[in-house]
């Protein structure tokens, strides 16, 4: 490759042990190295309970590794306190979860603007216009002022996707984002994610159980037995 894109997030020798203070500690990750570059669309696959969510949370600075280092958008998370991590997440990470977790008391637009409100108190005019444009782009133009309860599952997940993109992050982490949708809306949301990645140049990491969707990613990382390895086409 002639020009390597900038690294969005990188993990070195990541170990994660749960229940260290109990008599049955579980070592979920036993030394994982990953590097995600800007503009990449990466799928993470692996059996249930293999540690995919755990890895995603580490990459998004939502959790700290038991051992190893995370460099997220150039910042070593070990150097930051909890507030520092929160601010870093707010600026450079967007999360999409299987269950959209939109706030039921806020409209679709307000939900999408939430990361900006957390950061600035409220979203400015320019940001609001930009986010409106994004919602429009994913077909939610007529849903902006509806509450999540009045929207379909697919619509809610699209709103959650735009919320993840609202702060113009460098990295979007999606944990089984289509897992709770029927095949058609799942495909729709997936296609939108791919398009938005291409358009915004964000790095996109998606945990999925859907092999078909995984095949459409630029890269597939397989989490297994506490390790992560590149899932090359040859393996199939």
């Amino acid at each position: 490759m002639a020009t390597e894109a900038a690294v969005a997030v990188e993990g070195f020798g990541l170990r994660k042990v749960y229940g260290l203070d109990t008599s049955y500690p579980v070592e979920v990750l036993q030394g994982v190295d990953v590097r995600i570059r800007q503009g990449e669309f990466v799928a993470i696959i692996g059996q249930s309970g293999s540690g995919k969510t755990t890895l995603l949370n580490l990459l998004g600075a939502l959790d700290r590794p038991t051992e190893g280092r995370i460099v997220l958008s150039g910042a070593d998370t070990a150097d930051l306190d909890d507030n520092g991590l929160a601010d870093l997440r707010n600026r450079v990470v967007g999360f999409v979860f299987q269950f959209h977790y939109l706030l039921p008391e806020f409209t679709c637009l307000e939900n999408a603007l939430m990361p900006l409100a957390i950061r600035h108190g409220s979203a400015g005019r320019a940001d609001t216009e930009r986010v409106r444009g994004l919602l429009d782009r994913v077909g939610l133009a007529d849903q902006m002022h509806k509450r999540p309860g009045q929207m379909s599952g697919g619509q809610q997940q699209r709103a959650a996707l735009i919320r993840a993109l609202a702060n113009s992050p460098r990295l979007v982490l999606a944990d089984e984002p289509t897992g709770n949708l029927d095949a058609r809306s799942g495909q729709e949301v997936f296609d939108l994610m791919r398009e938005m990645t291409r358009e915004t140049g964000v790095a996109f990491v998606m945990v999925t159980h859907d092999d078909r969707l995984a095949q459409a990613a630029d890269r597939v990382i397989h989490v297994e037995l506490g390790r992560a390895h590149e899932h090359t086409r040859a393996e199939e």
Partner: protein
């Protein structure tokens, strides 16, 4: 801050039932406190007025002169000993420089009226009958500040009383068969005898006074009790009757006179008032506790219900402090709205209570419940409820702030 306010407000608006419940809990507590405190305060004010309305708050008397020991009198004859001591005891102690003393006493803080007066015993003689009476002599306009006798007059006059005129209670008038304008004889304990015109008859509602009290001018009393230019006591009225002990002590401390405080003279009455006040305080505290506990319970439930929202807010970069503020502000919102509603309800209740009337003396109607509308009670109740609610909100808010988003999200 705008973000936290927005989320807190939306939570409160969306959580209709819960919000109404918690606001009602605060409002009820505030209403109960305002109601009970205003009622007790009003009742006590009336009780105090009725009970000690006719009494001075502090009575200043000359320090007692010790009976001089026999040796000092120089009396040698054994048979004379008793007489010598008795004479000293019986000698009326009095204040001679009334003007100066009055000025001195007026300087004490809280003193609203200074009334030089004479109190003495006498017989009222009418025809062949005599009645033991206690004679109070003071300038009527001043005496009025101690006990508003003018309101109690059922016939005749009091304020424009001339010398050689007296007013007596209606029971005494009945007993003695005296009518307005009749002349009666008074024979004082000092042995002074005189004829006086009954210029007025009063009904205080208190048997003892209506049967045994005679009021007259200072001048007349001075003559009756051989106290030319002097008085036997000075009566004080205070702006707050419950400072009587302090004022009495201050006076006896700096002027070296003997003082009597109504609070000491009527100790059991004062203790009764105290017990009443502390039971109203206890009711208030329990109302606050009950409301605080119910608010804490509702808020804990709401925090648990919202744990997923809290998790997502944190994943989006909300700091612990922001979450704490959100739930803290929900508590504050509940507290402020509840306190306001409670003040409104308290006011309405008191107004209703004020409307309840009873028949009073002279056929007039009177409030059954004397209600005091004291802004301090409203403010105090509101402040106490806001404080209790905030304390109740702290625990749930901290719990929310400490939630671990990883655990919430893993709990998918």
């Amino acid at each position: 801050m705008r973000f936290e306010v927005a989320v807190a407000t939306r939570h409160l608006v969306a959580g209709k039932g819960q919000t109404v419940l918690t606001v009602a809990a605060v409002a009820v507590a505030v209403t109960v406190i305002i109601f009970i405190t205003s009622l007790i305060q009003g009742l006590q004010t009336r009780l105090v007025n009725d009970f000690i309305g006719s009494l001075p708050h502090v009575t200043v008397k000359p320090a007692e002169r010790r009976p001089r020991p026999l040796a000092a009198t120089g009396a040698r004859v054994e048979g004379m000993a008793g007489t010598a001591v008795q004479e000293t005891v019986q000698r009326r102690d009095s204040f001679d420089d009334v003007e100066k003393l009055t000025q001195q006493l007026a300087q004490f803080s809280g003193v609203t009226a200074v009334v030089p007066a004479i109190r003495g015993q006498a017989f009222l003689v009418h025809g062949a009958r005599r009645f033991g009476v206690s004679v109070s002599g003071a300038d009527p306009a001043k005496q009025e500040r101690i006990n508003a006798l003018q309101d109690d007059m059922i016939s005749g006059r009091w304020l424009s009383l001339g010398s050689d005129e007296i007013v007596i209670g209606f029971r005494l008038a009945d007993e003695a068969g005296v009518r307005l304008g009749d002349r009666v004889r008074l024979l004082s304990s000092e042995g002074v005898d005189g004829v006086f015109t009954v210029a007025g008859i009063f009904d205080t509602g208190q048997n003892a006074a209506d049967l045994g009290s005679v009021f007259t001018t200072l001048r007349t009393a001075q003559r009756l009790f051989r106290l030319q230019g002097a008085v036997s006591s000075v009566l004080l009225k205070l702006d707050d009757p419950f400072t009587a002990n302090q004022v009495a002590d201050a006076v006896s401390g700096s002027l070296r006179h003997k003082t009597e405080s109504w609070m000491r003279e009527q100790a059991s009455f004062v203790n009764g008032l105290r017990a009443q006040s502390s039971s109203s305080a206890m009711i208030s505290v329990f109302a606050l506790l009950a409301s605080a506990f119910s608010i804490a319970a509702v808020l804990i439930v709401s925090v648990i219900q919202k744990s997923k929202e809290i998790g997502i807010l944190k994943s989006m970069g909300a700091r612990d402090r922001q979450i704490l503020l959100i739930f803290g502000m929900e508590g504050l919102g509940i507290a402020l709205v509840g306190a306001l509603a409670g003040c409104g309800a308290g006011y309405l209740f008191l107004r209703m209570l004020q409307g309840v009337r009873q028949v009073a003396r002279f056929g007039r109607t009177d409030q059954l419940f004397p209600v005091s509308f004291d802004p301090a009670i409203f403010l105090g109740a509101a402040a106490a409820a806001v404080a209790a609610t905030m304390v109740a909100a702290v625990l749930p808010a901290r719990r929310a702030a400490r939630m671990d988003p990883v655990e919430i999200i893993h709990g998918n």
